[in-house]
C-alpha cells in the first residue's frame, strides 16, 4: 500500500503520541486508540449495513407476493384487493408517465436557470434573487406543494380540460406532472449550474476571440463541456420524481386502472403505497405493496449509481 508523505508523518506522530499516552496519560484517556478507530470503522460500516438491511427487509417482506404472483405482478393490469388480484402495471405506467412528462417540462426551465446563473448573471442582485428562489423551491415540503396544487393547479387544469373537451376531473396525470416539474427543477438546475460555472474561461474566451457570439459559445462550448453534469442532474431529478409521494398522492386522483389519457386520474407506485398501506389487510396485499416499494428502491438506486458513474467517468475535467 502506497502511503503519502503526509500519511507517514501522521502515523509517525501518532506512534509518538501513543507511546507518550501509554506512559503518562494512560488513566486520562477514556478510549484507547485501537478501540476508537474501531468505533469509527463501525460507524462507517453501519451505513452500509443499514442500506443492506433495508434491501433485505424489503425482499423478505415481499416474498409472499413474489411467491404467489410471480412475474404477473409487474404486467398485470388489474389491481383489485377485494378479489385478491394484484397487478402493478397501472402504477408502473403512472409513475413513468408522470416522471417523464415532468422531466420534459422542467428540463428547459432548469437549463435556462443553469445558464442564467452559471453564465449570464454569475453575481449581482438578480442572480441572488433567482438563486434564492430556486433554493426556496427545493426547501418547500412536498405536502405544501400538494396542498397548493389542490388549491391552484386543480382548478386551472379543470378549465383546460373543459376547453379541450376532456372529463373535467381537475386531478390526474397532467396535474401531478405539472407539480412534479416544479419540484424537480432545483435538483437538475443546481448540478447543471455548477458544471456550467466550472467551464474554463480560456475555452470560452478562445471561442469569443474567434468571433463566436455568446449564444454560439453556450451552444458549442459550454453545453458540450458540461453535458455530463447536466445529464447527471437530470438523472438526479428523475430519481426524485419517481419517488415523490405526498404532492402526487394529493393531486393524481387515485384511480387504480391504467390511465387512458394524460387528463385521466391515475396512481403512481409511491401514491398507491401512501393510499393503501395502512388499510392493507391480508398477507399478499401487504406484501404486494412492499414489493412495489422494492421496485421503487431498486430503480432509484440504479438511477443514483448511474448518475454517479456519469459524473466520475464522463467528466471532461480530470
Amino acid at each position: 500500500m502506497a502511503t503519502t508523505y503526509a500519511e507517514t508523518r501522521i502515523s509517525t506522530a501518532g506512534a509518538f503520541g501513543r507511546a507518550y499516552s501509554k506512559s503518562v496519560h494512560m488513566s486520562r484517556t477514556l478510549l484507547s486508540e485501537g478501540s476508537f478507530r474501531k468505533l469509527l470503522h463501525v460507524s462507517g460500516i453501519a451505513v452500509v449495513l443499514l442500506l443492506s438491511a433495508i434491501l433485505v427487509s424489503l425482499i423478505v417482506f415481499s416474498v409472499p407476493a413474489i411467491r404467489q404472483l410471480g412475474f404477473s405482478f409487474l404486467i398485470g393490469r388489474v389491481w383489485n384487493p377485494v378479489s385478491g388480484v394484484f397487478g402493478a402495471l397501472p402504477f408502473l405506467v403512472g409513475t413513468l408517465v408522470t416522471s417523464l412528462l415532468a422531466l420534459l417540462i422542467s428540463i428547459f426551465f432548469s437549463l435556462a436557470i443553469a445558464i442564467f446563473l452559471g453564465e449570464y448573471f454569475r453575481s449581482g442582485i438578480i442572480s441572488t434573487l433567482i438563486r434564492g428562489a430556486v433554493e426556496l423551491l427545493a426547501g418547500i415540503p412536498s405536502v405544501i406543494y400538494g396542498f397548493w396544487g389542490l388549491a391552484f393547479f386543480v382548478p386551472a387544469v379543470r378549465v383546460i380540460e373543459m376547453k379541450v373537451g376532456a372529463a373535467p376531473y381537475g386531478v390526474g396525470i397532467l396535474t401531478a406532472s405539472l407539480i412534479l416539474s416544479i419540484m424537480i427543477i432545483p435538483y437538475s438546475a443546481g448540478l447543471a449550474r455548477e458544471v456550467i460555472s466550472l467551464v474554463p474561461s480560456d475555452l470560452k474566451e478562445a471561442a469569443l476571440s474567434l468571433g463566436a457570439t455568446r449564444s454560439e459559445v453556450i451552444r458549442k462550448v459550454i453545453l458540450p463541456y458540461a453535458r455530463s453534469g447536466i445529464l447527471a442532474g437530470v438523472l438526479l431529478s428523475l430519481g426524485r420524481a419517481l419517488g415523490e409521494t405526498m404532492a402526487v398522492t394529493m393531486v393524481i386522483g387515485n384511480a387504480n386502472n391504467l390511465p387512458k389519457s394524460i387528463f385521466a386520474p391515475g396512481n403512481t407506485m409511491a401514491s398507491i403505497i401512501a393510499n393503501e398501506f395502512t388499510e392493507a389487510t391480508g398477507k399478499v396485499y401487504l406484501a404486494s405493496l412492499v414489493e412495489i416499494a422494492l421496485v421503487l428502491f431498486v430503480v432509484t438506486a440504479i438511477i443514483n449509481i448511474a448518475g454517479r458513474i456519469i459524473i466520475t467517468r464522463w467528466s471532461v475535467e480530470k
Partner: protein, 282 residues
Amino acid sequence: MSEDRVQRRIVVDRFLKGLVVTLSFVVILPMFFILYFIVRNGISVIDWTFLTHLPKPMGEAGGGISNAIIGSTMLILVSCLISVPIGTFAGVYLSEYRKGRFPYFSRLSLEILQGIPSIVIGIIAYVWIVVPMGSFSALSGGIALGIMMLPVIVTSTEETLRLIPDTLKEASLALGVPYPRTILKVILPAGLSGIVTGIILGIARIAGETAPLLFTAFGSPFMNLNILKPVNSLPLLVFNYATSPYPEWHALAWGACFVLIVFILSLNIIARTVTRRWKVQF
C-alpha cells in the same frame, strides 16, 4: 450576403438570451404563488389560540395545532438523537480513511440512501419498529426521519473535516495528545460550524416530511408525550386537513403550512449565518 448572416447570428444571440432570462423568471413565479397562497390563507388563522390549543372536533370552529407542534418537536429530537452521533462518527471515518474498499462502499451506500424515496423509508420503519412493537409510535416516526437525516449529516461532517489541514492534527499528535483526544478535542471543535450547519439543514430536510410518517407516527388528534404512542406532526396535519372536504379544516391547514414554512426558512437562514459568521478559517 455575409452582412445578412452576421445580422442573423446577432438576432439568434439576443433571442437566446431573452429566452433564458424569460424562462428563469417564469420559474420563480411558482415560488411567489406558493408563498402568496400560504400567507394569504394562513396568516389570518394564526393567533395565540391556534398555537396553544388542541384541534376541535369536526364542525366546531376554532381549535389549534399545539399537539402537532409538540409532536413534530418530539420526532425531530428522536431523529437527531439517532442520526447525529452515528452521522458525525461516520463523517469522521470517511474523512480519516479517504481511500480503500470500505470507505468506497460507505460513500456509495450514503448516496443510494440519500436517493431512497421517503415512502420506502416509511415502510422500513413500519416493518422494523411498528410491527414488532404492535403500535404506531413517535419512536418509529423518529427512526424513519433519522434514517433520512443521516446522509445529510455524514456528508456535511466529512466535507467540513476534509477542509481542516493535516498540520493541525499533526501538531496535536506531535504534542503527545492521543489520537482519540486529537479527534474529539481538536478536529471536531475546529469543524464544529460545518457540523452544526449540517445538522440544521438535516432538520430542515425532515421537518416537512410526511410520507415516512404515514405508517409510523400516524397522527393523532390528542396531545401525546409518550414516545411509544402515535403523535401528530405539522406535515401530517396539513395532509389530513388538506385532503378533508371541510373549509374550516383547510383554513387550519394553511395556518399549519405557514408555521411550517416559517420554521424551515428560519432553519435555512440560521444555517447560512452559522456558516458565514462562525467559520474557522485556515
